[in-house]
């Protein structure tokens, strides 16, 4: 792509929504991995790299990792890799393997879905696989009764290809503009016939692929890489919007973050009390699930304990009291806060 073409496309993007902050996908360059960098056949309906959700219901097995295989010269240093480790040669009707990003309604609202004037979007990403053929991309609403399927092809084995296509705005259906799920963008790797629909139109049922979808689980030789995932308003794909790591991390932390704090316990005569409070790095999507993952422990404060906690989307505090008495103690505690949608 020429520099003049880049500027022309960016000008078009500016008219559509802005030069920066135009990507509705968070962590499209797969840089942030707060939960870890390797997930061996993760549970169905779970999260892997930040903001990357997986539907994994099949008889095979897939390991998902943050990888350093990237398209050359495009400024990326991470991709997400899917590696089939147990094959499932025949995908049953109700089986599936896909990865998704659920865009918050407050962000998706810019598209004006569900009303006249709904805006078109351009989807673009870089993908590579030894498996050539047709894959499917889908956009659905939270009720999964509006679904647009777009087929795309990988034509050269083991070669990075930049895929881009336009999806027209949906003038019908209910699309949340709250902190709930505004839209679900997903890429199918294997998909049973229950979820097959018609490409290039808005379907009115929970469908995400066509019958042309390849079966990624057909061989343990199969690998699939993706990075540079971008969804923007308009008709023309622009260059991927690279962000500094701090910006992307902060965006991710609205949905998942780690925390580290100290707990102090004091003897109060007839009881033993400990308390602590944690301010989360950004206001989260909603009051998070909390897990204590590590830190120091004692008999009064075992590794998984929180006591009674009080939480909201800004932070949480914990209080614990026991009947036993003792000297003063302090502990470190680490954990996670999860408010994914």
């Amino acid at each position: 792509m020429s520099r003049a073409r880049d500027f022309a496309d960016l000008a078009g993007s500016a008219n559509a929504g802005g030069l920066t902050g135009r990507n509705l996908i968070i962590n499209g360059a797969m840089k942030v991995a707060q939960r870890g960098t390797s997930f061996a056949n993760p549970s169905d309906d779970t999260y892997t790299l930040d903001r990357i959700h997986v539907f994994n219901g099949n008889d095979g097995a897939t390991t998902i990792t943050q990888d350093t295989t990237v398209p050359s010269g495009e400024g990326f240093y991470n991709s997400i890799k899917f590696d089939c480790t147990t094959l499932d040669g025949t995908i049953a009707a109700g089986q599936y393997l896909s990865f998704n990003q659920r865009i918050e309604g407050l962000n998706n609202a810019v598209l004006g879905y569900g009303a006249s004037g709904a805006k078109s979007i351009v989807v673009s990403f870089y993908a590579k696989s030894n498996l050539t053929g047709k894959f499917c991309y889908a956009v659905r609403n939270s009720a999964t009764n509006r679904a647009y399927i777009k087929e795309f092809s990988l034509t050269s084995a083991n070669t990075w290809e930049r895929i881009s296509f336009t999806i027209p705005g949906d003038t019908s259906g209910t699309w949340l503009t709250t902190n709930g799920i505004g839209a679900i963008h997903g890429i199918s790797l294997s998909m049973g016939s229950t979820y097959h629909g018609t490409a290039n139109q808005w379907n009115t049922s929970n469908v995400v692929a066509t019958s042309n979808q390849v079966n990624f689980l057909s061989s343990t030789d199969n690998e699939f890489f993706l990075t540079g995932w971008q969804v923007e308003v308009g008709q023309t794909a622009t260059p991927f919007e690279h962000e500094d790591i701090g910006t992307t991390l902060r965006k991710c932390q609205r949905y998942f973050c780690t925390w580290n704090t100290g707990w102090t316990g004091v003897s109060a005569g007839i009881s033993y009390q400990q308390s602590s409070s944690v301010s989360l790095p950004v206001k989260m999507n909603h009051t998070p699930d909390l897990v204590r993952t590590g830190g120091t422990t004692s008999t009064r404060y075992p590794s998984s304990n929180f006591g009674t906690f009080h939480a909201n989307s800004d932070g949480f505090s914990s209080f614990n009291a026991s009947a036993s008495t003792g000297g003063n103690e302090s502990w470190q505690a680490t954990g996670t806060a999860d408010s994914e949608i």
Binding site: N285, H286, D289, F306, T308, F309, H310, A311, D338
Partner: protein
Amino acid sequence: MNITNAQYQSLKTDDVVVEAKHNIVAIINGVKTFVPIDPASRSYAEIMRQVAAGDLTIETAD
């Protein structure tokens, strides 16, 4: 989502329970998780779905 051992935590003020269902503690996919009483929480929504289906019971707070 594999959920077991769900139990409410109460909130006490001056040793008196002022909120019997302040939050839920459960083992979710093998991990002890503190779940807010918030319909926006995926975990809370799934817990209540399993309760409605008769697949899970939430114990009262100690």
